[in-house]
Symmetry: C2
Subunit: 167 residues, 2 copies
Amino acid sequence: MSEVNDKAWRDPVDLTPIGVVRGGRETSDDDYWGGFESRIELDPQRFTDDALAALDTFSHVLIVYHFHPLNPASEESGGRHPRGRDDWPLVGIFAQRAKRRPNRIGVTICRVLSVDGPVLSVEGLDAMEGTPVLDLKPHMREFEPRGEVFQPQWSHEVMANYYSESP
Amino acid sequence: MSEVNDKAWRDPVDLTPIGVVRGGRETSDDDYWGGFESRIELDPQRFTDDALAALDTFSHVLIVYHFHPLNPASEESGGRHPRGRDDWPLVGIFAQRAKRRPNRIGVTICRVLSVDGPVLSVEGLDAMEGTPVLDLKPHMREFEPRGEVFQPQWSHEVMANYYSESP
């Protein structure tokens, strides 16, 4: 089996967006996503309205998306200073949430505002207008971190205004 | 801008795995992932050891992966009963975590056990041996759900043994 796996795991993974972000920002911003409302519209060519059925019986949804093409395309393959700030430590690309990352995937847990047929309205989605969406999953307490949670101080500083309301 | 977006958002998204799950299970199981330990090995052709630097200063990591090819390939585009159980309600594919989902993406938050060069050891990764990994992100408190969290009763029942220790 490992021989099969060794051959297979590097194969390209070809995905098709399930929908698109509407009402998103027109620019890429690092901060002030607090209270921001937008919508995800499913591709009507692929899904029935049933695809979102009962999602509004959950308070939150996990959204997997692909960064908007207007975001920087270069990829980091080692370490960097978060947001280019030398006073924060040099950390690996997989130890930060920077956009210049391999595969350009974003994952955000948002509050569900409403479901209306093929349209999901959410609060707190940090994605630009026209962003392709790859998956939606209901948030369940059972998938939250198990055991003690900790993180370094610089990461709190990076996030200080991320979910603040716009000033 | 919306004209550009309308053209672009349905474009295929072509990804390249960043690494692979080793020490994973050889079969796909619905339950008993509690305490299960496995590793993610980064692709040494693409990344320096710096790519994981400082990830072990976080307690948890969010892992984005693509379901193993041995998992069922058929896709649900509407609703279904979770795990085929008629006593649970019919809910949309995006209101459940079923494997038969578009794009076959898994997202799991795991405890970081250690980082050793290009190898990340974790606890609680519900992925099979040889699963392609698409991204790793440090877990930050600031990305946890904001506001009241709730979910329907059936979802607690589905998850009852998911993170139990093996019986």
